[in-house]
Symmetry: C2
Subunit: 232 residues, 2 copies
């Protein structure tokens, strides 16, 4: 790592995008792969596997993208409403809010004298006081309102890209069984690479991360295959 | 609300479980519903829609549950490694870490004199110092290691329950078209109720939340139906 403590906002932005790609790609690689694998054990036609797979990719991509968008929007609204409440409390019950500041400062280990000075200085400006309460009492950072649509688009696209990889095998093979073989090879390789890369980024052991990711995919596909074969 | 500021840990625990149920249920109601709707426009047999739907529910439930479990595990490991790093830094480069504390205290509006006393008191104890850095520099709360398996089970189960609701309609009807009609009615009612309840819990406008949730489901199902019909 070049810089030891990256600027918090830079750090946040890059990790939010990567996090969104990771969310979309890991589900996109896994669920359509497993669904297609499941159907391969139950139907005779590759076209049917492709139809179901694409329907799943479209449905999942929309559900995840819109879900991400609305979750981001809710976070922005939640921050704004909590902030408005803190401003109201600072104005209406300043003594109780001052006692809360004092309590938080005691928790981080300040002496009564230092706390008295700190509470006086910190509560001199309502803007600063509310900022302190938001961050130190509620643990909330101000969300970026432009983040929600960006996240939605990233998750949605990553899911679709991830989902087309396992389905691609069924386009170029003659039977669902052949399709499944190639789909499993391609997808497990992608899950291994993706798990390796993701763990590397987050500072986890990369080989273990690769195996975990591929393991989820294999387990989901195996279970779907078993269930579909049982009922068909 | 009975208590104004609930104990932070109580608040956290209950909201984590509810959050997990919401995650599982909202995806479970939406994606299998949309997949089944998509296939209903492309195939003649309800059995096929059920096979694909159940394969999807199994795959999604495993992928989401295991995904949630591993994400929780990673969070625990990440916290432990960041904490070890802060302890190392406090020991090896105490002056730089003291300057970082001073910077955080300047940001909340304390004067140079108060900061000098506060930095001295706060850094007297390494345990307390590291706790401050973890929480206020890095914004990390200590995750509960028992949370990961609990979250996995909750998300997985909620997804499966959610997914069986739209599929149930195809069990009791004669054709995919009839199944789709009843599935859409049942699922949209559930999405409306679920969106209302969820928004109510998080303090958002409940009617709007109900409409958003049902809107995502309808859009995903409509798109899946359109795509499946085009290619079949």
């Amino acid at each position: 790592m070049a810089t030891h403590h990256p600027h918090p906002e830079d750090h946040l932005t890059s990790s939010v995008i990567l996090q969104d790609i990771v969310i979309g790609l890991s589900d996109g690689l896994t669920v359509p792969f497993a669904l297609a694998a499941g159907l391969s054990g139950a139907v005779e036609s590759s076209a049917l596997v492709i139809t179901a797979g694409l329907a799943e990719v479209v449905a999942g991509s929309i559900a995840m993208g819109l879900g991400g968008y609305l979750a981001g929007q809710t976070e922005v609204e939640h921050y704004a409403s909590e902030r408005a409440r803190e401003f109201r409390e600072v104005r209406e019950v300043p003594d109780r809010e001052r006692a809360e500041v004092d309590e938080l400062l005691a928790e981080i280990g300040l002496s009564p004298e230092t706390r008295a000075a700190a509470v006086r200085e910190l509560t001199a400006n309502p803007e600063q006081w509310v900022h302190f309460m938001m961050k130190y009492e509620l643990g909330l950072e101000e969300p970026d309102p432009k983040q929600a649509p960006k996240s939605a688009a990233t998750i949605s696209l990553a899911y679709a890209v991830g989902g087309l990889i396992p389905l691609s095998a069924y386009f170029v093979t003659d039977s669902p069984t052949q399709g499944l073989t190639w789909s499993a090879v391609i997808t497990l390789v992608c899950l291994l690479l993706f798990g390796y890369f993701k763990s590397h980024l987050t500072g986890q052991p990369p080989v273990l991360g690769a195996l975990k990711m591929a393991g989820i995919g294999a387990l989901a596909a195996g279970a779907a295959f078993f269930v579909a074969r049982q009922i068909s």
